[in-house]
């Protein structure tokens, strides 16, 4: 048991209709992006999405170890998503659990469509994602960060991938769920989406909960709307990094 048990909030909407953290239902949390935070990685990015702090490092293309994982006709993308022991209120065991393996897999599949892996047969691109602080929606923030790390690495990509979550609480559809909203159980649904914004192609769609077809459509549109804002910030962060690097000298 933790020393101070985390109590669920009594209400999920404030009396003025805003959410617990003061956002409107269709508002994103604050997003800050830094590129090139890891010196020894080929490409890296840090995404601070609300209270989430996520660092992604990308390496390669490089030799595959162990060798039997190599594909002779295409390169492979390997993703490791890990949560730090201190990233959540109660200590998380450092051993990779079921959830981490799942998220590693979905992040990998969300990113694969933008890469030209077939150009790098017998090699691997490795992405390591470390969650320093978690506050709901880490898989979406991880995808956002990992796509930027790949872009920073300098391998060809069709587009950036943007992760954004939408959900439903008490029948109300909301954008970008925080941890407490994620855990709310009344009339709730949670849908992480990853999308290639340029061509509006969805590379990840998971749904936890129950929604009607109309609600689903509304949620998807909201996700694209939120994704667009994040996408612009991603592009801006990449430009800024190289702008400052080049002008600074």
């Amino acid at each position: 048991m933790p020393l101070v048990p985390e109590m669920p909030p009594e209400k999920i909407f404030r009396e003025d209709g805003l959410r617990l953290d003061g956002r409107t239902p269709t508002q994103l949390r604050d997003l800050r992006i830094e590129i090139g935070v890891l010196k020894n990685a080929d490409g890296s990015a840090m995404v601070c999405h609300g209270k989430n702090r996520i660092i992604a490092g990308a390496y390669g293309p490089r030799e595959v170890h162990p060798r039997h994982l190599a594909e002779s006709d295409t390169g492979i993308l390997q993703v490791q998503y890990r949560m730090s022991t201190f990233s959540v209120p109660e200590r998380k065991t450092p051993a990779p659990g079921r959830r981490e393996k799942e998220i590693s897999m979905v992040v990998q599949r969300a990113l694969e469509p933008v890469l030209f892996l077939e150009q790098y047969p017998n090699s691997t691109i490795d992405i390591f994602i470390q969650v320093m602080t978690a506050d709901g929606g880490t898989r979406c923030a991880s995808i956002t960060a990992a796509a930027l790390a790949l872009a920073d690495m300098g391998i060809p990509m069709r587009d950036l991938v943007t992760g954004v979550a939408v959900g439903k609480i008490n029948g109300q559809i909301i954008l970008d769920l925080a941890d407490k909203e994620d855990k709310w159980e009344e009339g709730a649904a949670d849908m992480p989406v990853a999308v290639m914004m340029n061509e509006k192609k969805i590379t990840l769609l998971q749904l936890d909960g129950q929604v009607s077809v109309d609600e689903m459509e509304e949620m998807l549109n909201l996700a694209l709307e939120g994704g667009k804002q994040i996408y612009e910030m991603q592009k801006e962060a990449l430009r800024q990094k190289y702008n400052s690097e080049l002008v600074g000298r």
Partner: protein, 322 residues
Amino acid sequence: MAEFYEDDDNPSEEPLDENLEPEETEVTTPEMEDVLAGEESPSAAPEETFDTEESREEIEEEEEGQEEMEETMPREIVVPGQVLGQKSKDLLSGYGTVTAPSGIISLYVGFLQQRGKYLNVIPFKGRYIPHVGDKVIGKIFDKNVVLWKIDINSPYISILRPSDAGDSDRGNRRPERGGRGGGQEVRRRFDRGGKKEDTSAMNVGDIIIAKVLRFDRTTEPALTTVGPDLGLIRGGFLIDITVPKIPRLIGKSGSMIKLLNSLTTCKIFVAQNGVVWVKGRKPEDERIIIKAIRKIESEAHTVGLTDRVKEFIDNELKNLNN
């Protein structure tokens, strides 16, 4: 998804390479010849391999005046997925771009550049992918009886077999350069009655200049050390630079590398895999050259770099003499 990109010319072999790499250069002194040979060949090699590109090169030569103008224009930073324009008769996807339903899109974070009717994106970073004929600098990290394994800074481990290291053209050997030419090492052993086809000539940790002999999607790159400039290297410094900036270090028609060679006593070999070998008669000169290369790397995007590098080296040399 693949069908959307069908009309894209193979982006990795697009005009950027030949645009930025030097053409054949006139060499002034025999001393410089060795060193410069290394820089000339990268441009020569792709030409041999893709003879269809000859016609395109002619077109670009005509447009040279236009290029000069474009160099002075501020360049735009683009990001992956950014739509650069719509494909038309006068606008085609060049290096680092691809044609998608939404238009010509960028594949890299880099500078946008238009050469003739091709839209190119020059990436800021990248990894070396071997091409047949490239000269590379690598380190032997493993060997067995029949082959050496060499790290050439690419996704693939490359191999060198003694038969590809043997019997170089002896006329090209130069004792003052450490008797380079792997051929010599193997040959000498052979002359002494040793076996030619074994790997005792070079050891783990040795640095070699080699040429990519064979490489395709199915086999690991095979190297050779037979040929001028190739073989073991001793002394000097090795510098890593980012691969997309190599053309700038070489300069137009090798102008930058000629400049570096002419101002100091150093010999400089730029390998295509992002490794530069600097060897000078005086350590002070080597230090200046290393600084200059770092300067070129960090200011690769700027205009009038050759002049500034000349000024920089002149200043450094003056400080040294005072």
